[in-house]
């Protein structure tokens, strides 16, 4: 450990820490563009100048490691003047097209100009012009004029993904970011360069002109795209519904979690939210198949479904839960299954194409909560069938009632004909899910569930980390969170009153399932807890 003084405050930090990080620990912000804690130090932007002891020349904070007894000042007139001059230098060739720039509102040029710039511009010459609105790949749009050449994106592609598509070309004020010849910025993590770009040089093609960022609200969440459980922020727009074609969720952004995803998320996860505001969403409970289908209210559908569940013998009912559901839902489903004495319970449905996996974040299991389903015990009971066995039994009319959650069985690895035969043969098919799919049309009863951004809950990732996600927007139409639907069904089946909230479900889960013992929403905080079991 090293002791040093920053702006008169003493602090002890680990050896090798740089001045920016040491100052951050004291709550002192040293402005910077090129430095990023997840990347190597470049020392490009020169904005993080600080004064060291009696050294007459200010030094950059990012590339200066702390030393014993060091005296750092970040607020002297000399430092402030240097910052102002460097801001002016960065903005010399900046086009100042904030009105059309998607970064406006979250741009570090705007923020630092207001904090550390505020100079009278002296630039009288014609600005250097560079390519604008150049797509670099499927997700990233480049505006070379706005770039301040911090090289964060170049270092990201070199160091994090190791793909090295980007480079800085040309010299002097004509330097610009670009792709190496014949390359495309299409690696599975390409959109992270948008997040780390401090200015509007790299913007999101998916989010392009969709919503101005100051209309967005944020909710903390967990990416449901795979079993990694990357921490994310859901940015949603409900203030100006005419923007973004009425879609409420505008974009997902990674949220820092040192133990899970650090600063990054993959592109598949980032753009995997479109189903939330998709026209395929199920808006109301429905009964009847095909042309006879009619939308009904919850008070009508709940007694109908409970009557069906009571009508059949426990070994005539099959339940296929989904690893896309939250721990709270699993707990209530488990309680219901145990109450009815059902034995055919499963949650595993193999996908048609096996998921890809890499060493960075992406996991082959594309479900966020497989581990939770395992731990809460939604596998087959002794003597019970697994999901495929249930389909076969349904075809042979041994299983008469099938209750499927979220899965599109038609898109599974199983032959579509086999699935179709089973669903046609079954007497009562209950589908519970957020979106219509290949099997929902065959359902006798449709229970619309809320998407993950429309509710509270927790997922358990592949390593047993329980992480919380928060509600961002209201459930679409009449849809309800899965735990709420299961709570209502449970109450109708005589399992006591409906739980009041997802938190209450989790509390009951923690009290009854050993691996979750001692956990609560408060205990989980923002970053989650790894289960001891």
């Amino acid at each position: 450990m090293v002791r040093l003084t920053i702006d008169g405050k003493e602090i002890e930090v680990a050896e090798g820490t740089n001045i920016i990080e040491a100052a951050r620990r004291l709550g002192i912000e040293v402005p910077h563009y090129c430095y990023h804690p997840g990347l190597s130090v470049a020392g490009q932007c020169r904005l993080c100048m600080v004064e060291l002891g009696n050294n007459p020349r200010p030094q950059i904070g990012c590339n200066t490691q702390v030393a014993e007894g060091m005296v750092v000042r970040t607020d002297t007139p000399k430092v402030l003047e240097v910052r102002q001059s460097i801001m002016e230098f960065h903005l010399i060739n900046h086009p100042l097209d904030c009105p059309v720039c998607d970064q406006a509102g979250e741009c570090w040029l705007q923020i630092y100009y207001m904090k550390h710039g505020l100079y009278e511009p002296r630039m009288v010459d014609e600005k250097v012009h560079k390519p604008k609105a150049v797509p670099l790949g499927p997700h990233v749009m480049l505006d070379a004029e706005r770039c301040i050449l911090c090289s964060r994106c170049v270092r990201f592609c070199d160091e994090v993904t190791g793909t090295g598509e980007l480079g800085i070309f040309d010299r002097g004020d004509r330097s610009e970011i670009g792709l190496f010849p014949g390359r495309e910025l299409a690696n599975p993590y390409s959109a992270n360069v948008i997040d780390i770009c401090p200015v509007g040089a790299l913007t999101d093609r998916d989010f392009r002109f969709a919503v101005r960022v100051w209309y967005l609200d944020t909710a903390k969440s967990i990416c449901p795209g795979c079993s990694r459980g990357c921490n994310i922020d859901v940015h949603y727009n409900i203030r100006r519904p005419h923007h973004n074609q009425g879609r409420r969720v505008a974009r997902l952004k990674p949220r820092f979690n040192a133990e899970v995803n650090r600063w990054w998320i993959c592109d598949a996860g980032r753009y995997g939210y479109r189903f939330v505001d998709d026209p395929s969403r199920l808006g109301a409970p429905a009964r009847g198949r095909g042309d006879a289908a009619q939308e009904v209210g919850w008070e009508e559908i709940i007694p109908l479904v409970t009557a069906q569940l009571r009508r059949y013998r426990p070994d005539e009912i099959g339940v296929v839960a989904s690893p896309k559901m939250a721990n709270e839902d699993f707990f209530l489903l488990r309680r219901l299954v145990d109450h009815l004495g059902l034995i055919h319970v499963d949650f595993r449905v193999p996908p048609r194409t096996p998921g890809d996996e890499d060493r960075i974040l992406i996991k082959a299991d594309k479900n966020p909560n497989t581990r939770g389903a395992e731990l809460i015990g939604l596998g087959p009971r002794p003597g019970g069938l697994d999901a495929r066995g249930m389909l076969r039994a349904a075809r042979d009319r041994r299983i008469k009632c099938l209750w499927v959650f979220h899965h599109d069985l038609q898109a599974s690895a199983w032959p579509a004909a086999e699935v179709g035969d089973a669903l046609r043969a079954v007497e009562c098919f209950i589908y519970q899910g957020s979106n219509s799919n290949g099997v929902s049309a065959a359902a006798h009863y449709v229970l619309p569930s809320a998407a993950w951004v429309e509710r509270d809950g927790t997922f358990t990732n592949f390593e047993g980390r329980v992480q919380r996600f928060w509600k961002a927007v209201e459930p679409l139409g009449l849809s309800l969170a899965d735990w709420e639907i299961l709570g209502r069904l449970g109450a109708a089946l005589g399992l006591g009153p409906e739980p009041a909230s997802a938190e209450a479900c989790f509390k009951a889960l923690a009290a009854s399932a050993a691996p979750f013992a001692g956990l609560s929403y408060r205990e989980l905080r923002d970053t989650g807890k790894v289960l001891s079991a």
């Binding site: 097209d97 009105p99 059309v100 390519p131 604008k132 392009r208 002109f209 101005r212």
Partner: protein, 182 residues
């Protein structure tokens, strides 16, 4: 209140006296001017609106218009500053890609709901492109429905600035639900 004022009739008669005095004074002045050809006598007149319009101050905030570029396309770049600053939330802009990357952004839709507008002029102040102005001199916008109060991009682009005395240069836009023969 004094005793005399409490006798209502006295005050009424005083009021009638003032009205009558103005009436006869103006009658005299008009007679002097129009019958006897006096050049100095000038009676009070009413503007014969709408045939005759009072000159408006150039600062008057009248119906909005969208300023055009030389090729007739809107100067607006859909930055949403006016939409953001609007206290009445009456501006609805949807942005689209402009084929020229130097312009980059263009409004695909630009609606102003005049039924909600409070004519504060903040949109004009906020605009970084001088793309919206309230200088058409048009004050006559009414409609039989709420829908008819929504003025679209095409309507707003078609308007011209008023003459220096505030006379509108463009015809008053007639909402879809208000045909001239009605």
């Amino acid at each position: 209140m004094r005793l005399r004022q409490r006798f209502y009739l006295v005050e009424v008669l005083i009021g009638l006296g003032i009205t009558a005095a103005h009436f006869f004074a103006n009658l005299g002045r008009h007679t002097a001017r129009h019958v006897f050809g006096s050049k100095t006598a000038r009676g009070a007149v009413t503007f014969q609106y709408p045939e005759e319009r009072r000159p408006y101050s150039p600062r008057l905030r009248s119906l909005h218009r969208l300023v055009r570029r030389e090729d007739g396309s809107p100067r607006c770049v859909a930055c949403m500053m006016c939409e953001t600053v609007c206290p009445a939330h009456c501006i609805y802009i949807v942005a689209a890609e402009h084929p020229n990357p130097e312009i980059e952004k263009v409004p695909e839709r630009f609606d102003i709901d005049l039924g909600k507008c409070v004519f504060c002029g903040y949109c004009v102040e906020a605009c970084p492109e001088d793309a919206i102005r309230m200088d058409t001199g048009i004050l006559e916008f009414s409609s039989y429905s709420r829908r008819g109060m929504i003025y679209t991009k095409e309507t707003l682009l078609g308007l011209e600035p008023a003459e220096p005395d505030g006379t509108p240069r463009s015809p008053i836009p007639i909402p879809a639900d208000r045909t001239p023969n009605l």
